[in-house]
Symmetry: C2
Subunit: 283 residues, 2 copies
C-alpha cells in the first residue's frame, strides 16, 4: 500500500452525438465531437479498507467510480474536486471514473497502460448509464472527434486542430440516463448528419454550428438554452464569425458554450476556460 496519487481529467462538453448500444460495454458508446476543457476534475485516490467517495467535500455515491474500483480490485478513499457544475453536461461523472482509474492504478502499484485504464473507466460509465463518450474524449484532450464508438481497441478517434478560449453558462441540468436510455433514433440520425458535416469542414467554427443544429434537430434545446444561444447571435449559422461568435448546447445539460468571447460579448457573465490540449493524466 502506498500514499495517495492524484490525477487530473479535463471537463468535456459534447456538442453532438449518436448512440451506439452493444452488449459488450467496451464496444458500446457514441460517435460525435466535443471540447476538452481546462476546467476539470482532480481526483486523489488513497488505498483504504473501505471505499468512500467525496466530491467537493461531500460524501457521494458514484456508481461509475465504484465499478472502476471493483474492476481494479481495490477499495480506496476517493477525494475529488471540481469547479464544474455537476449534471450539466461537463463530463464530471466520466472525469471521476477516469481520474479514479488512473490514480488508483498508480496508488496501488498495479500498473496498467492508459488504454487499459480508459477501457475500465469507459465500461464503468456505460454500465452505470451515466455516459457514452466522455471518457474516451477526456482521455484524448483537444477538440476530439469520436469516429467510431467504444473503448480503445474498438472506438477510433480523430481531432480538429483547436486552441483558445471557451466560455460557458449553465442554467440547469438534464438527466443523461433518461435521454440515452430512451428512444434515440431521431437523435442519432441528427448526430450522424452533424458528424458528416463536421468532417466536410473540420474547423472549430463548424463544430459549434453543427452542434447548434443538432440540439435543435434532436429536440434537446430547452427554451432557456435557445434564448441564450439566440442572444449570442449564432442563429445565422455563419462560420468564422468575429464579434460575438456562435454558441451551442452542451450534451447533456442545460448549458450553453461558446468559443472566444461569444457569451461575454452578448452580455452574459460566463465561466471562462481554455480548450485543454492534453488528455487525462497523473499530476
Amino acid at each position: 500500500m502506498t500514499d495517495g496519487e492524484t490525477a487530473f481529467v479535463p471537463g468535456h462538453v459534447t456538442g453532438f452525438f449518436s448512440v451506439h448500444r452493444h452488449e459488450d460495454p467496451a464496444r458500446a458508446g457514441s460517435r460525435g465531437a466535443g471540447l476538452a476543457l481546462s476546467d476539470g476534475v482532480t481526483v486523489e485516490v488513497t488505498p483504504a479498507a473501505r471505499t468512500r467517495i467525496d466530491l467537493n467535500g461531500d460524501t457521494v455515491g458514484v456508481e461509475a467510480v465504484e465499478r472502476v474500483l471493483e474492476s481494479l480490485d481495490c477499495s480506496a478513499r476517493v477525494e475529488a474536486e471540481t469547479s464544474l457544475p455537476v449534471g450539466a453536461g461537463f463530463g464530471v461523472s466520466g472525469g471521476l471514473a477516469l481520474g479514479t482509474a488512473l490514480a488508483a492504478a498508480a496508488a496501488t502499484d498495479r500498473p496498467r497502460t492508459v488504454n487499459e485504464l480508459v477501457t475500465v473507466a469507459h465500461c464503468a460509465e456505460v454500465e452505470a448509464g451515466t455516459g457514452l463518450g466522455d471518457v474516451v474524449a477526456q482521455a484524448r484532450g483537444g477538440l476530439a472527434v469520436r469516429l467510431d464508438p467504444g473503448a480503445p481497441g474498438h472506438g477510433t478517434m480523430d481531432a480538429i486542430p483547436a486552441t483558445g478560449r471557451v466560455e460557458y453558462v449553465s442554467v440547469g441540468d438534464l438527466p443523461t440516463g433518461e435521454v440515452i436510455s430512451g428512444d434515440t433514433d431521431a437523435l442519432s440520425a441528427a448526430g450522424e448528419r452533424a458528424l458528416e458535416r463536421l468532417l466536410d469542414e473540420p474547423t472549430p467554427e463548424r463544430f459549434v454550428d453543427v452542434s447548434r443544429e443538432f440540439a435543435d434537430e434532436a429536440g434537446l434545446a430547452t427554451d432557456r438554452v435557445e434564448s441564450v444561444i439566440a442572444d449570442v447571435g449564432g442563429t445565422g449559422g455563419t462560420t468564422g464569425g468575429t464579434a460575438g461568435g456562435t454558441a451551442a448546447m452542451a450534451m447533456l445539460g442545460e448549458t450553453v458554450f461558446a468559443l472566444g468571447e461569444g457569451l461575454s460579448a452578448a452580455g452574459y457573465d460566463p465561466d471562462v476556460c481554455e480548450i485543454h490540449p492534453a488528455g487525462a493524466g497523473l499530476e
Copy 2:
C-alpha cells in the same frame, strides 16, 4: 492567404523500436516506445510564393518539410526554433514535419483533421528516410507506446501513465537514415522483446530498463553512451530505483536520457525538461 500560424511539437526520445517496412508509407513505421518532451520544436508557417525553411535562423533543406508542403499543395516560409540538438535522437525532423503540417493547414485555410495532418507528416518523414515513429508519438504526447506501426488508421497507440522530470545529455549524433535503411533484423528482434517486457509491466522505470537493454542488444550504444549510462548506475536493471535512478540511450543519437535526477545525481550537467503530456498542437 492569411497571416502566419504557429504550432508546437514536443521533442521525442525513442527508447527502443523495431522496423516495419511497407511500400505504403502510411503503413510503414516502427513499434516501440518513447518520451514526449516539453523541450520541442516551434514552427511558424506563413504562405509565400517560394518555400524557404529556417531552423534557428539558418536556412536549411529538410526533405520531410518540403514533402509536407507539397502534400498540402502550398509553398511557405517556415521558421522553426528549437533548443534541442539536431540529429541526436530528439525527433527534430519529425517535429519540423508535423509542426509544418499543423501550421500550414491553419495558415492556408484548408482545414484538415489532426489524423489527416499526422498522416501527411508521417508519410513525409518515412519517404524522406529520416524517421519511422517520431511523428505519431509526437502527435500523442506522454510516454507513448507504438503497438502497431504506421499513421492513424493503420498504426495503433497506447501509453504508460507518466509525469515528471527528464534529464538528457547529448554527446554526438548518429545517422538515423543509415541505421533504419540497413540490416535491422537483430535490432527489430531486440525491439520486439523490449516491447513485450514493457507491456508485462507498463511503468516508466521498466521503460528505461528495457530501453537500456535494447541499446545493448541492438549494438547501438557507443562507448561514450555506455560510459554515461554506467555512471548513472542503471546497469543493475533495477526498477523503481531512487537515488540516481536509471538511464538509457535515445534512438538514434549519441544521447543519454534519464527520468528524475539520474544524470545530475551522477555529476553531469544535463538539460532538464518534463514529460510533455499533450501531443503537438497549434499555439
